[in-house]
Amino acid sequence: MKNFDVVVIGAGPGGYVAAIKAAQLGLNTAIVEREFLGGVCLNVGCIPSKAMITAAHWLHKSQHDFATMGFNLNTPVEVDFPKLLSWKNSVSQKMSNGVSQLLKGNNVTIIRGEAQFKSATEITVNTAKTEAGAGAPSAASSETIQSKYFVIATGSRPIEIPGFKFDEKDILSSTGALDLNHAPKKIVVIGGGYIGLEISSYLRKFGSEVTVVEAQGQLLAGVVDPECAQVVTRKLVKSGVKVMYNTKAQGQKKSKDGYEVTVEANGKQEILKADKILVTVGRRPNGDQTNLKAAGVTVDERGFVKVDGQRRTNIKNIFAIGDICGQPMLAHKASYEGILVAEVIKGANRAFDVKTVPAVVFTDPEIASAGLTEAEARAKGFNDLKIAKFPFAANGRAVSMQETDGFVKMIADAKTHVLLGVHIVGPEASNLISEAVLAIEMGARLEDLALSIHPHPTLGETMMEAAEATLGHAIHIIQKPLAGNGKSLHP
């Protein structure tokens, strides 16, 4: 029987990071994975969707911005979808191979198969095949593995709704949508959250007719700053995506030429025709798998494993990280937790102690946020706030990129000028937000951002300018004169 110090179950961005860190700390570590190294993120989530979004972006540029810049395409750009798909797959493959190399390079034992707890110190793995350089796959077998510690990093899966059972051919989750070998003519997207909108944006650019069915009155409800969501919604609708608010999908049936989706709004039913149906109403944690009961691990009614601030479950030697242990279900949160638990297992005093978990949505334009929204700040008792926006339209780099939609919005405590939240919608928002994360973690004040020279001409200048705008005196937008005609340099 194999015996380890630490066995990590699930090789997603939480699990593999935990395993590498544990191995770095000198613990004898194994990782169990039933499907792909790198998990949903690298294989059917973040990474492949970014490949598709990048491709769609260039196609869109060629159709809309090339002519303005004097590029005359005699024939429109053609998309070889199967080739696009194989490129996308190669991106995932590359990343997944990288994970495999990192694990091996750190002497983490990789065990392929499905883990089931037998007790708090033992699992069985139904081994699909052994991971070997040139070894032939052996027959399926079951092995028992003991460990002093376990890290549950088994993630989440797309939620299925009644009447829309995934076949991943026509009725799709994000996994199936990312693997389409063509742009469907008509697609109905149920759920206007970030996954639905990312896929909707790029499919629209590839020419699909997209209808988004959203149960609430706005898109990205409760996920991002409402003003940011507004910018994205406007652009989405302008690009031809049809959005139905306060509407619920009730069912579907196959018709001669595809599917008929029944939706209902205000008591009225409507039939939408579609070739494909994408359901992106959220993800549910995989707490119902892995036989956690045998280990005695407490799972709540939604399937989340209950953990404390060190990500320890009610069973002292078992930890849980990532999607399985609660919102937000984000890869980078899982990775942080992976390092955290490895260090806790090693004996260090660590806790999930961050000011913010940033969030990024790869719509067009991108949305990124760190820290508190205005509503959250007020709820936390920050009553006196300074809030201002700086538009990308006033930024030279954004204009030269023909990407001027959006703004950087900052929220600060009016008394101390300490930065509380940053919400960006615009080009490269995903890359710009890291500065905000650092600023918030360091407890920076608006002046700290405003007085740091940001190189010109870059999108990053918008961070400096937004800080200045929040202080009341940005250079590149017109604001009210300073108090007392500038008598006080500091508002």
């Binding site: 990789i110 070997a132 404390d308 009610n314 030697n317 004996g347 005093n349 102690d353 101390t416 407890g443």
Partner: protein, 564 residues
């Protein structure tokens, strides 16, 4: 003989330039070990070998361009068995116990290997775990194992003397001792590798089962909840049943609240030091808690003057004084490192002397009755299996007197400008040991009988001499008694054990002529001193304290009246 070919390097890459060989003929290699570095037009990559074996020939030289699928080297796979198992054979002098579960002979199959971890003996490094707050190293006193010994999990492997105590270091792993990294007398830093174990997965299994009931916190590194947990000492199998409920394990300090301004590194420092950052007032910009704030708050929970004083001590001329040997005398002097218990004693006394304005009051007591009482009780005590000395009586008389004079059972919190009166009586007693002075503590001495205290004194004193005291057993005293007079001398002026505010000295019992009721008589006389912190205790108060104490000790029967 097996040919190793250049594998696929990625989409669109058909060849690469050889930059460097990472192996040479005769090298024994493992599966997945990199054999060469190749630069393709996308990146520099390391080429792994898919199998184990001994390198026979290299087919290219540096600078060559190699096409995918060409043979880059040849390998003798069968040679791997002997090559890898060689080190295992060299430890054949293992005791009989080890042969029951020998390190498995290495994979004999010459075929490509699955990367499963069964089989070969693996090397495990055993590091020196955290030894307690502020202890970063220890002097190796004794090895408890030798190369070839089979070590069980949690078995003690070495004795180490830190500046607080002598501790036994447990091994968290099972295995056979392969190599010992230090020799007796070496100073070992926390986290350095002490010895190398050779283990195999099968042996680990066996022992984990064998010791399922050991409590998670064994060994000397037990600490208070506010400190980081004992390191590298993984809980054994028994813990799984621990604590139900949803709340799970507790950790301290709590996570920083949203209003707290502190950088991530500062927050981590606070956590590692067990400081609750939420209760701190930052001195930085906009109330930011700085690194210095955290560092200087460490001792707030104990006694602030401690750190202040340590800083004083650290910078005072005495501690930085460089003694230069006159050249002519060089060979007549010997230099020995000041460390361990000696160093701690030096620091503590330096600190106490620099903080506390000491004064000492002396008097003598007629202990004829006490001597008689003790004589009479000797047999009684012997029946209870112990020996009664004078010390427990002195403790009892002192505690009774302290109840009258609570300022003797107090401390000064300089930072808060507060006097802390203690409602518990933990009495330290100075013990002379081969390693130097240590002060074991009788906790809650007011609640214990003379017999109980006697037993505890004997036990603590013995273990103090043997260097086996736990550091908790030397902490938390509220006052100290020194018994140095039992060795010699009529009076002494002891130094107070800061943050305590007084120390009682007891000296030799002698027959002395004294005038009693106008007549000369020979009596048993014992000298006592009380040394007090003048900041808190006035001379007259100390005089009254000593008088009240001596009245009790002269009429030991009165102690009965005040017993609780």
């Amino acid at each position: 003989m097996a040919d190793i070919k250049l594998p696929e390097l990625g989409e669109g890459v058909t060849e690469g330039e050889l930059i460097k060989w990472l192996v040479k003929p005769g090298d024994s290699i493992k599966p997945d070990q990199s054999v060469a570095e190749l630069m393709t037009d996308k990146a520099t990559v390391e080429i792994p070998s898919p199998m184990a074996g001994v390198v026979k020939t290299l087919k290219f030289k540096v600078g060559d361009v190699i096409k995918v699928e060409s043979v880059i080297l040849t390998l003798d796979p069968s040679a791997s068995t002997t090559a890898i198992s060689a080190p295992a054979a060299s430890v054949s002098a293992a005791p009989a116990a080890a042969t029951a579960q020998p390190a498995k002979p290495v994979l004999s199959a010459p075929t490509p290997l699955p990367s499963t971890p069964t089989g070969p003996a693996t090397s495990i490094s055993v590091k020196l775990p955290e030894l307690g707050e502020g202890v970063s190293e220890g002097e190796l006193v004794k090895w408890l194992v030798k190369p070839g010994d089979l070590v069980q999990a949690d078995q003690s492997i070495a004795e180490l003397m830190t500046d607080k105590a002598t501790v036994e270091v447990p091994s968290p792993f099972v295995g056979k001792v392969k190599e010992i990294k230090f020799k007796v007398g070496d100073v070992v830093k926390v986290d350095s590798v002490m010895l190398i174990l050779e283990g195999s997965s099968s042996s680990v299994t066996t022992t984990v089962k064998a010791s399922p009931t050991v409590s998670p916190q064994t060994g000397p590194q037990q600490k208070s909840a506010t400190l980081s947990m004992a390191a590298t000492n993984p809980p054994p199998a028994g813990f799984a049943t621990a604590s139900g409920g949803s709340g799970a394990a507790e950790f301290y300090p709590p996570v920083a609240e949203s209003r707290v301004l502190a950088t991530p590194a500062t927050r981590r420092l606070a956590r590692e030091m067990g400081v609750n950052i939420n209760s701190m007032t930052g001195t930085g910009l906009a109330g930011r808690v700085t690194r210095d704030d955290v560092l200087s708050s460490q001792s707030q929970s104990t006694f602030e003057s401690g750190t202040a004083a340590q800083k004083v001590a650290a910078t005072s001329p005495t501690t930085t004084f460089a003694y230069q040997s006159p050249q002519s005398l060089g060979p007549l002097e010997e230099r020995v490192a000041l460390r361990g218990i000696r160093k701690k004693i030096a620091e503590n006394l330096q600190m106490a002397k620099s903080i506390i304005p000491h004064f000492t009051l002396m008097d003598e007591a007629d202990v004829t009755e006490l001597v008689t009482l003790r004589e009479n009780l000797k047999d009684f005590a012997a029946k209870s299996g112990t020996k009664v000395t004078f010390l427990p009586f002195v403790m009892k008389a002192m505690i009774a007197t302290m109840r009258e004079f609570p300022m003797f059972n107090a401390s000064i919190d300089d930072k808060a400008s507060e006097i802390v009166y203690k409602k518990y009586f933990n009495v330290g007693f100075a013990a002379d040991t081969p390693n130097g002075l240590v002060v074991p503590v009788i906790k809650n001495a007011d609640q214990k009988s003379i017999l109980e205290i006697s037993r505890e004194i004997l036990d603590l004193a013995k273990r103090a001499r043997d260097g086996k005291l736990k550091s908790e057993e030397m902490k938390g005293a509220t006052i100290t008694i020194t018994n140095i007079g039992s060795v010699g001398g009529t009076y002494a002026t002891p130094i107070i054990n800061h943050p305590e505010v007084a120390i009682l000295g007891m000296y030799k019992i002698q027959d002395k002529p004294i005038i009693k009721n106008g007549a000369l008589a020979v009596q048993k006389v014992m000298n006592y001193t009380v040394t007090a912190d003048h900041r808190l205790i006035d001379g007259a108060v100390a005089a009254n304290f000593l008088k009240a104490f001596i009245q009790r000790i002269e009429k030991p029967g009165s102690l009965m009246l005040e017993m609780r």
